[in-house]
């Protein structure tokens, strides 16, 4: 490591002080921690390529990190590895409104892209709740979504091209327009295991002509759920349909005083956007469908719209106000199973004496149960883990998925075999091996059992230590 560090110092700024290093020990999921061997803060693609080549030379694993807001431990460092942080690469390089695209560095925040083009009437559509700080590189790696992905799609639908540094240190361009395999598609959502994005071309969307935001309050989640089904059944595709239950509302209220209707068992936030006539028509339909809500609020202006969204967008972090610790879960179920799954979550919560607050992208069945516990109480953490895991089982049982948008990372690797057969997993690992034969790019993430891709030329002599320890097997 010492020799590697000395050579990294010639490439860019390096952090080796142990106290400083520890501030990088975790991302938004603080449950998993590891002090990185060394942190580098590159400022260009060339620097990243040089760093990755050095890692190859020394057989040292590397992990990319953007803003460290990931919720699955994707950016969890390796104590024997290099953490490559993109937080200094935050320039918007090019804005091409005629072709509705912008080229940005990976450390640019999601919201900064929108801010750069807002005055011209454009925006970058995917809007994770963490948009003010999460980096576009992290978004690409996690294929992040947001409230408005119901209508507009996830990150993958808004990335036109990516310049990446491959796991062996080459700078390569992946473009949507490329003929042949959709390598860009494979790269997006790869959680830093197929290389590091160094330049990202995003699609810019026109700010919709008309937006109507409605807040509907219901007595309970079931009533709210029925409204969601009715909206979809009516053929309306809102920009967003979000739901929060009573506990989540309580937290948001405590944090940002969002003033949602009192005594609501659930609130539904529905946003319609598009050309004015279409929005007006849908709004008329929506009013009818939501007639049984005990209160219906329509945002009169941008400030009122922001007020409605504020409660929802701050919900995760706001839970800190009503519970000392919590786990943010992320699962997907078919929309039609929402009621059963929610009832199941209720049951689990009662059974284990663990409160669960529910926030979800109701339109696409993406649940975010917030499992609350007191870390000072012995055993509470374990019970919360149990509940949180059981919720994922519930999602799988109902034909859903273990992650909607937060990724697999380290946290959910162990659930992969529940969703995929060995053959499925092997096929995925073969893709990984094609990009990263040495297994240096973010190893230990996504897959439960590491698989090694054939003999590694040069660096290692003899059997791989992981193979020897029985922790991995050779393809």
């Amino acid at each position: 490591m010492k020799r590697l560090i000395a050579r990294l110092e010639n490439v860019g700024e390096v952090i080796t002080d142990p106290v400083r290093l520890r501030t990088y020990e975790c991302d938004g999921l603080t449950y998993h921690r590891a002090t990185p061997g060394v942190v580098v803060l590159p400022e260009s693609a060339e620097q990243i390529a040089a760093i990755v080549r050095l890692c190859n030379e020394y057989g040292t694993p590397f992990v990319a990190r953007g803003s460290g807001t990931g919720l699955s431990g994707g950016a969890l460092p390796r104590s024997d590895g290099v953490l490559i942080v993109t937080s200094r690469m935050r320039r918007v390089l090019e804005i091409d409104l005629d072709n509705r695209r912008a080229v940005v560095e990976p450390g640019v925040t999601n919201l900064a892209i929108t801010e750069a083009v807002r005055e011209q009437g454009f925006y970058y559509a995917p809007d994770p709740s963490s948009q003010q700080i999460c980096s576009i590189g992290g978004n690409v790696a996690e294929n992040s979504g947001g409230a408005h992905c119901l209508k507009y799609g996830f990150t993958v639908n808004h990335i036109l091209a990516c310049e990446i540094v491959t796991p062996d240190g080459d700078i390569v361009m992946l473009d949507r327009m490329d003929a042949g395999y959709d390598l860009l598609g494979a790269f997006i959502g790869s959680e830093g295991t197929l290389g590091i994005a160094t330049k990202i071309t995003v699609r810019l969307s026109r700010t919709p002509e008309s937006v109507i935001t409605v807040l509907a309050a219901y007595r309970d989640i079931a009533e709210g759920g029925r409204a969601v089904s009715a909206i979809i059944a009516a053929g309306i595709v809102p920009a967003a349909i979000e739901m929060m239950d009573a506990l989540a509302i309580e937290a948001a209220e405590a944090a940002v005083a969002c003033r949602y209707p009192e005594n609501a068992g659930a609130v539904l936030i529905v946003e319609l956007d598009g050309p004015a006539p279409e929005v007006d028509l849908q709004f008329a339909q929506l009013r009818e469908i939501c007639a049984d809500a005990f209160e219906l609020r329509v945002a009169a202006d941008a400030a009122e719209r922001a007020a409605i969204w504020k409660g929802r967008k701050s919900a995760f972090a706001a839970v800190g106000r009503i519970s000392p610790a919590y786990i943010v879960q992320d699962g997907v179920v078919p929309r039609t199973s929402l009621p059963q799954v929610l009832a199941g979550i209720d049951r689990l919560s009662a059974e284990h004496g663990i409160r669960v607050a529910n926030v979800f992208h109701a339109g696409d069945g993406n649940l975010h149960p917030l499992v609350l516990f007191d870390d000072a109480e012995p055993g509470a953490g374990e019970r919360a883990e149990t509940v949180s895991g059981a919720i994922l089982d519930l999602c799988i049982e109902h034909g859903g998925s273990i992650t909607g948008e937060h990724g697999v990372g380290v946290d959910k690797a162990r659930y992969m075999p529940k969703m995929f057969s060995d053959t499925d997993l092997d096929t995925m690992q073969l893709v990984r091996c094609a990009f990263d034969p040495k297994g240096l790019a973010n190893p230990g993430k996504v897959f439960p059992t590491p698989r090694l891709c054939g003999e590694v030329p040069g660096v290692r002599k003899g059997p791989h230590p992981l193979v020897e320890a029985g922790k991995a097997e050779q393809f």
Binding site: T23, T30, L111
Partner: protein, 406 residues
């Protein structure tokens, strides 16, 4: 450092984009989340290392992170406790110590500051030399404002027209020595709006600088003295026109918790001038001030006291005045009390960034509730060759109420 306060942080990172040092350097250790992590390392037993102290020192105390945090983390309390711990446990290098000692023996004492005014004029010429001796001394010289003739404030200013309230007024040590015209304007505005203004002559420093630098004993002493002085003056409301002083005075009860002084602190209501005037509602006639004004949110007003709307409303209500918003208005200008003295380079970079934002607006006048900020931004504007006139909110209001140009 209170572990409970540290545990409130859920590591979400929402505070990062509003942090000026993260904006400058893009490193975790110089972000609020990173600093809180460093605090937790200390609580878990890691001694304060020079690196750690450096990251705490680099924090401007602007409290933008408090505004941004959805989990309600009291970073303001945390950094205050941390600074006190650093002062107690950390051995600074001799040069650093000497400069800090000099500053803290000057700033909280109006009389000593007064003695400094003449040498400060001289320092203009000496700046280059001082900068070579120590960058902090250079920064101090560069910031030295050009002082107008000293104005002695009366003990009492009677309300014009029907009396609507009786208030005490804090003069502030830096304000009264370097910006006497702001205090004069404040007293006039209050009186024109129907307030009897009581100005105890024996008042001293409120202790803000000491709190913000971890000198808690000095801070408590100064707080008690201030409380006593205003109690004797017989007022229950103290109007403050310096954002930094106001934010600390609002925290007196916490600072003195556990002593009988806390209750005495609670009995006094501290308000910012704009907050007070907005609450009172306008009575006096507003005359036109035909200027384009860029309003800058002083951190200790916007973030520490949550006062953003009131000064804007007051300015907007002045006929003929066009109010412009400065982009990145949440981001600190780098002035932050003694920051430009101890961290001259960072302060300069932030000042330049703010100046860039302001100069895009083509404003005639830059207004804020904190002379430190306006001075800082004005200096940065001069460096860019686009000088701008500056004023305190009180001065603009005063001009409008009296029908003169500011």
């Amino acid at each position: 450092m209170d572990p409970h306060l540290i545990n409130d942080c859920v590591h979400c990172g929402f505070c990062l984009p509003s942090c000026p040092t993260y904006a400058l350097w893009g490193e975790e250790m110089d972000s609020p989340r990173g600093r809180i992590h460093l605090m937790s390392q200390h609580v878990e037993g890691t001694p304060i290392t020079p690196a750690m102290a450096g990251h705490f020192d680099a924090c401007l105390g602007c409290m933008a992170c408090v505004t941004a945090c959805p989990s309600g983390v009291r970073y303001d309390k945390l950094i205050e406790q941390t600074r006190a711990t650093v002062e107690r446990e950390h051995e600074r290098d001799p040069q650093d110590r000497a400069v800090r000692g000099l500053v803290f023996s000057l700033f909280p004492y109006p009389r000593r500051l007064r003695l400094l005014r003449w040498p400060m004029r001289l320092t203009g010429a000496l700046q280059g030399f001082l900068e070579r001796v120590h960058p902090s001394l250079g920064a101090m010289a560069a910031l030295a404002p050009h002082v107008e003739v000293r104005q002695r404030m009366p003990r009492f200013v009677r309300a014009r027209g029907p009396r609507r309230a009786v208030v005490g007024m804090l003069l502030g040590c830096v304000q009264r020595e370097f910006f006497p015209q702001v205090n004069a304007a404040t007293a006039r505005v209050l009186s024109l709006e129907g307030c009897d203004v009581v100005i105890p002559p024996s008042q001293g420093c409120c202790g803000a600088l000491s709190v913000h630098s971890g000198r808690s004993d000095q801070a408590r002493r100064l707080a008690k003295r201030t409380i006593r002085v205003f109690e004797r003056a017989g007022v229950s409301v103290i109007v403050v026109n310096a954002a930094g002083c106001g934010s600390s005075m609002k925290e007196y009860a916490d600072l003195l918790e556990g002593t009988p002084w806390a209750a005495r602190a609670r009995a006094l209501r501290v308000v910012d001038l704009a907050e007070w005037l907005a609450e009172l509602g306008p009575a006096a006639q507003r005359n036109a001030v035909p200027l384009t004004v860029a309003y800058h949110d002083a951190c200790h007003l916007a973030h520490a006291q949550g006062i953003r709307r009131q000064p804007r409303d007051l300015l907007r209500d002045i006929p003929g005045l066009v109010l412009k918003e400065i982009p990145e208005s949440d981001l600190c200008c780098g002035s932050a009390g003694t920051y430009n003295i101890f961290q001259p380079q960072a302060a300069r970079d932030l000042g330049d960034r703010k100046a860039r934002a302001v100069s895009g607006l083509d404003a005639d006048l830059l207004v804020s509730a904190n002379p430190g900020c306006t001075m800082q931004i004005a200096a940065a504007m001069r460096r860019r060759g686009s000088a701008i006139r500056v004023a305190h909110t009180a001065e603009v209001l005063d001009a409008s109420l009296r029908g003169v140009s500011p």
